[in-house]
């Protein structure tokens, strides 16, 4: 069936089963490969996108559950204030190694920062522990989120 979703501000109509996970619509139907596949069961966070600003695992999100909500992916997160700060901090702190999980990490961190400009260590643990990194970049992710939060503070 034809379903229309709004991705990064653009209406996209796709013809897939209504229970198809958003992840595969993004990657295989729309060709937006920045969002990654890791586990298929919301266990690793690699597929994280924002739905109306909330960090959401796209691998278990049915396409027919989205309705008129706004889907934001890694390809467009840099256009948000929090996303841009997080991306900059990721580069400044040299967080990335293989990089495969980092789209999801950045989406989780951006959602955290947008909703909580000054997260504590415990807030960071809560928001980020659903995102696995096999390269073990956790320490730098924490530092980068703190740096981004600090730049939020300076920006008012």
């Amino acid at each position: 069936m034809a379903i229309t979703i709004k991705v990064n501000g653009v209406d996209r109509t796709v013809d897939v089963d209504s229970d198809t996970p958003l992840l595969w619509v993004l990657r295989d139907v729309l060709g937006m490969t920045g969002t990654k596949f890791g586990c298929g069961w919301a266990l690793c966070g690699a597929c994280t996108v924002h739905i109306d600003g909330v960090a959401t695992r796209s691998c278990i999100t049915r396409i027919d559950s989205i309705g008129t909500s706004a889907v934001t992916t890694i390809e467009a997160i840099g256009a948000t204030a929090a996303g841009a700060k997080i991306q900059k901090a990721w580069l400044d702190r040299e967080v990335v190694q293989c990089g495969y999980c980092q789209s999801g990490q950045i989406m989780s961190a951006s959602a955290l920062l947008a909703s909580n400009p000054h997260p504590t260590d415990s807030d960071i643990d809560d928001a980020m522990s659903g995102n696995i990194c096999r390269c073990g970049t956790y320490l730098r992710i924490r530092e980068a989120i703190k740096q981004a939060a600090q730049s939020s503070g300076q920006g008012g």
Partner: protein, 735 residues
């Protein structure tokens, strides 16, 4: 490309000593590149003497440096980036001597060609592994940079009719300070290509390095934070279909019956491919392919390994250590020393099968045509992929084109071509390109695993408690023997024994034997920190046990055995000092230490752990001291150590692949757990300044942390762990 065949055997001036004197066997040619640039073709030497002889007949370049007329410097290198920072470190080596800015340098993937791109420290096999990209290229790439710079300066001097000695190279330009003249490298390339290749080039002294030793920014990172980086799983050749698969849950099993009616009815499913031991669902997208896979009714013939269990594998290994193995090292007379020892200590150790669980699940995209095969993949060993595809299709090698891509985690998994072979088998039945993507469950249950190891150790201590005899006999799979048959000689291979022999400690009588046992029904492969992932755990656990038996402090006990290895002594002392070794910790909190010399790097770690009443272990802090010789990029060294430690803690606390009824029992990140953000310890890295040649960095952190954690648990609880992963039930506080 036109080559002038200006061959020069480089015999540069004296430089820092190297374990393999690579420089004397290095050839380099220079000439004009297509389009008018300067091309240096470099033949990285083979460490393996057989490979050296095979290639002695002619010049076989395997690394290329192209200086273009626009000033861009393009490197084609036999190494791949998988997160370890190689794509930043390699350009630093060349740019340092070339006097170019790092941002002028770009790296390209090398196409598969084992003859051209074979890794000298892997016996000429084209692969990135064993922590050796920087180790292997340290001398030749700096020499190549110096030669290119010398030719560019000579070209400028000739053009200006001045003495080359009065010119200077700086940031991609040649300057003539007396007259203020300057020319960019781009402007000089055509002339430089006609200059003779200098016979002697002086390399910089370490104190003059501008780039090497600085925390240069990673070159591969920007695309990885905005979703534009392309991994193997991201390729989209026109018309590509997506497939996923179910392979026989028991290795060696076959498809007995298949009912695919329901799968075929799924919207978007295009085709079912039935192979002898697997079934694939080909669809428009992975959502449909997975739905189709779930709808398949497959009956398997489990084959000869239908009843295999982990316990059976472990039992075979244990039995094998009752008989002699191949002698890996013998020092002194262990039997005599043991007979006169005051105290005897015995221990056995078990290390489990481990999966790689790279974040990017296994995948490979293939287009098989009648007259050729095209492959898109992220591989640590691209020539292996090409060979596997040629074998599967029956096509000649030159009809198989492989496009290599970024790797979403290697850790040894992507040194293997099993996935590519499987994808090609499927693609042979598909009209057009097909991307085969493993589900996480397939990825974990059809990995090739870090081998299970069983070790039997005994030691004799003198009246002061110091070791006078050390006996170690261990059994397990020799991955190296399968991967590169030439490496297995007289019952031994260099990987399986690394970390078990040539110990940093002075042991007057030592005897180490290895018994090769290949487990049935489960394939094995290299896994981050390879042989040392096993041997360092055993060695460092046992030396700790000896210290405890002797009622001595674990650090002091080790230090007393290190007079002949000052670099090892220095890292141990530094780690202990920075960790605040000594003062007591609260109840159920303990510090543990480990020390190793593997991958040509010295490393000591102190782990601080807390064991809860229910036995749950939390690693709170890790202090690491490292002497890896000359540091090319200190930020990458820190990142790799942090990475290796987290990877190793995952293994120590959770890593366990088990077999029941021939099947791997773990399926996804719920049953094969990985350390998460909330569990990550504070990690401090202290780097010892050194001008020794660089050691490997990608894997050391992993092998060192596991015994440090186990020893810390002993300190916290008094419970000595002889089996990984940590059994929390055994650590419960009584009462």
């Amino acid at each position: 490309m036109i080559l002038d065949h200006l061959t020069s055997r480089m015999t540069g001036p004296d430089r820092s000593p190297s374990a393999n004197d690579l420089s004397r066997r290095t050839f380099l040619q220079a000439g004009a590149a297509a389009g008018g640039g300067l091309m240096l073709s470099l033949s990285l030497p083979f460490a393996n003497s057989d490979a050296q002889a095979a290639d002695a007949d002619g010049f076989t370049p395997n690394a290329f440096i192209r200086i273009q007329r626009d000033g861009q410097i393009v490197l084609t290198m036999p190494y791949v980036e998988m997160g370890q920072g190689t794509y930043t470190a390699i350009p630093m080596l060349i740019a340092e001597e070339l006097e170019a800015d790092l941002k002028q340098v770009r790296l390209e993937h090398a196409p598969p060609n084992e003859k051209l791109y074979g890794n000298p420290l892997l016996g000429g096999i084209q692969a990135t592994g064993n922590s050796n990209a920087v180790r292997a290229s340290w001398q030749p790439l700096r020499q190549a940079g110096a030669i290119a710079r010398t030719m560019l300066v000579a070209a400028a001097a000739k053009r200006w009719n001045v003495d080359a000695a009065t010119c200077r190279a700086q940031s991609g330009e040649v300057l003539h300070p007396p007259t203020g003249r300057r020319a960019t490298y781009g402007e000089l390339t055509a002339d430089a290509a006609r200059m003779p290749v200098p016979k002697d080039v002086a390399l910089k002294r370490p104190q003059d390095f501008k780039l090497i030793g600085t925390p240069a920014k990673r070159l591969d990172t920007p695309a990885k934070v905005n979703g534009t980086a392309v991994y193997g799983i991201d390729v989209q050749p026109p018309g590509v279909k997506i497939a996923t698969l179910a392979q026989s849950p028991v290795f060696g099993g076959r498809v007995k019956n298949l009912d695919d009616a329901a799968a075929k009815a799924v919207k978007g499913v295009r085709q079912i491919v039935r192979l002898d031991d697997a079934v694939a669902v080909v669809a428009d997208h992975m959502g449909a392919a997975k739905k189709g896979l779930a709808a398949l009714k497959i009956e398997w013939d489990d084959g000869p390994h239908a009843k295999l269990t982990t316990e059976a594998v472990a039992g075979e290994l244990e039995k094998a250590t009752l008989n002699p193995g191949a002698v890996a090292q013998n020092i002194g007379d262990v039997d005599r020393a043991m007979a006169s020892a005051v105290t005897k200590v015995e221990a056995t150790y078990h290390l489990p099968f481990l999966a790689h669980a790279t974040m990017e699940p296994m995948n490979c995209t293939v287009h098989v045509r009648k007259d050729g095969c095209e492959i898109w993949i992220g591989s640590q060993a691209v020539a292996r992929v090409q060979a596997a595809a040629a074998k599967t299709t029956g096509l000649p090698l030159d009809k198989v084109v492989v496009h290599n891509h970024l790797i979403g985690g290697g850790f040894g998994r992507r040194l293997e071509a099993d996935g590519a072979a499987r994808a090609v088998q499927i693609a042979q039945h598909v009209d057009g390109p097909v991307k085969v993507v493993w589900t996480r469950e397939e990825d974990i249950q059809h990995d090739m695993y870090r081998p299970y190891w069983f070790d039997r150790l005994s030691a004799g201590l003198d009246a002061k408690g110091m070791p006078v005899a050390w006996n170690n006999r261990f059994a397990g799979s020799s991955v190296a023997s399968r991967w590169a048959s030439g490496w297995f000689k007289n019952g031994l291979d260099p990987d399986s024994t690394e970390g078990a022999i040539d110990l940093v400690y002075s042991l007057p009588n030592m005897h180490v034997e290895y018994v090769r046992v290949e487990p049935p029904g489960i394939p094995t492969a290299f896994w981050r920190s390879v042989g040392p992932s096993h041997n360092v755990f055993v060695t460092e656990s046992f030396i700790d046990e000896l210290a405890a038996t002797a009622k001595q402090d674990p650090v002091a006990y080790r230090l007393a055995l290190l007079d002949k290895t000052p670099r090892a002594k220095a890292v141990l002392a530094l780690a202990a000092e920075k960790a605040g070794w000594g003062p007591p910790l609260p109840e159920r909190v303990g510090r543990g230490v480990s020390l190793q010399y593997v991958f040509a790097t010295f490393m000591a770690q102190v782990a601080e752990v807390e064991v809860a009443k229910d036995g749950a272990v939390r690693v709170r802090r890790v202090v690491c001291a490292v002497d890896c010789g000359t540091v090319v990029n200190p930020d990458t060294v820190r990142a790799q150590i942090q990475s290796g430690i987290i990877f190793g803690i995952t293994a120590a606390l959770y890593g366990n692949i088990t077999l029941k009824d021939g099947r791997v029992e773990q399926t996804n990140f719920d049953t094969y757990q990985v350390l998460r953000m909330n569990e990550a310890p504070a990690i401090e890295v202290h780097i010892v300044q050194s001008v020794e040649p660089p050691g490997g960095m990608g894997e050391c952190g992993t092998s060192a942390i596991v015994p440090a954690v186990a020893n810390a648990i002993f300190a916290a609880t008094g419970k000595r762990l002889h089996k990984m992963p940590v059994d929390t039930a055994s650590l419960k506080q009584p009462g």
